[in-house]
């Protein structure tokens, strides 16, 4: 694909909208790339559900500590000024509204801000929710980074989620490979188009009404 944003560019674009000094929780996948694109002059403090504030980058192979991992069960480091705490404190940070921004991947987002990112609802699937439902209800601002459509071309921005919800009306902004899209009282609204992408292309790939940028 020649036009639009890459995974890295989506993450970099999302990072632009996170204020300096924010406490940030990143979902697994593209959201993890946000750490590589912190804008010059800003500092984000990363929270991971399993009990660490001040999470740093992955360690060198010979510096791995088996007892220092993130919620995705990947080995990480702790930066100077980090803190460890137990799970109830960790989710008090989330549910109590102390985390400023959560960046998540998703399967679907609806025009009213509903998000479905934990289960396809398939009868043979092993249901697994983790901390997703706590995050979407507790964190002040929910950002989503996602491809605009599935691998088979189905829209991921939809009128109504067909998958089971993670939370209703919680998403504020979406960073896709085609555009930055806000969830507004009037539904989806394009804030910014990716380079080389027209509004008509975004509209065609979106499964709900979408307003053009101003």
């Amino acid at each position: 694909m020649s036009a639009g944003w890459t995974r890295e560019q989506m993450a970099a674009r999302a990072a632009q909208d996170i204020p300096d000094g924010s406490y940030v929780n990143l979902g697994i996948g593209i959201p993890e790339l946000v750490t590589q694109f912190v804008p010059e002059g800003r500092e984000f403090i990363y929270h991971t559900e399993n009990g660490l504030l001040g999470m740093g980058p992955p360690p060198a192979e010979d510096e791995i500590d088996l007892d220092l991992m993130n919620a995705g069960k990947k080995y990480v480091t702790a930066l100077p000024g980090a803190a460890y705490f137990h799970h109830a404190d960790s989710f008090s940070m989330i549910r109590g509204g102390h985390i400023d921004v959560c960046v998540l991947g998703t399967m679907q987002v609806a025009a009213n801000g509903d998000i479905a990112n934990w289960s396809t609802g398939a009868p043979d699937a092993i249901p697994a929710v983790g901390g997703a439902m706590d995050l979407v209800q507790g964190v002040k601002r929910i950002f989503v980074i996602t491809q605009h459509t599935t691998k088979t071309g189905e829209p991921k921005l939809v009128e109504k989620c067909s998958y089971p919800l993670t939370g209703p009306g919680v998403v504020s902004r979406i960073f896709s490979n085609l555009a930055v899209v806000d969830v507004t009282p009037n539904g989806f609204k394009v804030v910014e188009l990716a380079p080389g992408i027209t509004f008509e292309e975004v509209e065609k790939c979106t499964g709900a009404a979408i307003l053009p940028p101003e």
Binding site: T48, E49, N50, G51, L52, D65, L66, D67, L68, M69, N70, A71, K73, A78, Y84, F85, H86, H87, A88, S90, F91, I94, R95, D114, D124, I126, P127, A128, V129, G130, G131, A132, M133, D134, Q137, G138, P164, L165, T166, G167, P168, G169
Partner: protein, 236 residues
């Protein structure tokens, strides 16, 4: 002087009866009390309800306990992972029950049990299938779901440093659910990497006060679940 030390993992878990509800500390491999779990496998108690965030990895620890046919129900937030094969197979075969609880609600239900709070209201799961059948209430214009406390008969816990009073410290993110599980179980059984004398842990640095701990077993060289997985180990 109080001394909660127990000479062996086998003696520490000996009285866990069939049908017990058992909390197991750890988040994935980190903080998993492998030696206590393997002692429970040797002991053989059946029809257990286990509470853990996950369902274990490979064929050791928690996964081995499930594979050994000792567990009838799992209460957890994330029962599958790339290295978790035992639980998914039994679940699909209808041989084990699952109560799926969002991670923060799981933590708070455990904390509530340890704090004598029978239920609480949380926004988590509002408007989702996981709130089906649960009581909801509005506070200041927002809807919340009622969740009950989650007590247990036993907790199996791994810590870093303990003293004979039962005061504990933990290692990095291996702390996770362990301190709240210590509070929520009737009998809390801890394995510690280092046993020190009373007074050697600075009271300012105690993470879990000894009042929440009943038995402490000295396990100076604990096996890490990740190391067992890496070598393809199987227990028993």
């Amino acid at each position: 002087m109080i001394n909660k030390q127990c000479p062996s993992a086998a003696e520490a878990v000996a009285d866990i009866a069939d049908g017990s509800v058992v909390m197991i500390g750890g988040f994935g491999a980190s903080g998993s009390p492998i030696e206590l779990i393997h002692a429970l496998i040797d002991q053989g108690a059946k029809d257990l309800t286990l509470i853990n965030n996950n369902t274990g990895n490979g064929e050791v620890g928690l996964a081995a306990l499930i594979a050994n046919g000792q567990v009838s129900k799992m209460i957890c937030s994330f029962p599958r992972s790339s290295q978790s094969k035992v639980f998914p197979a039994l679940y699909r075969a209808g041989k084990i029950e699952l109560e799926l609880v969002p991670q923060g609600t799981l933590a708070e239900r455990i904390r509530a049990a340890g704090s004598g709070i029978p239920a609480f209201f949380t926004p988590t799961t509002v408007g989702t299938v996981l709130a089906t059948g649960k009581e909801t209430r509005e506070f200041d214009g927002r809807t919340y779901v009622m969740e009950p406390w989650l007590p247990a008969d036993y907790a199996l816990i791994k810590c870093e440093v303990a003293d004979p009073m039962g005061n504990l410290t933990f290692n990095k993110t291996a702390r996770n659910f362990s301190p709240i599980m210590c509070m929520a179980a009737t009998t809390t059984i801890v394995q510690t990497r280092a046993m020190v004398a009373a007074g050697d842990i600075d009271p300012e640095h105690v993470v879990t006060p000894g009042i929440f701990v009943n038995r402490v077993v000295d396990v100076p060289h604990p096996i890490h679940e990740d190391s067992l997985i890496a070598e393809g180990a199987k227990y028993p």
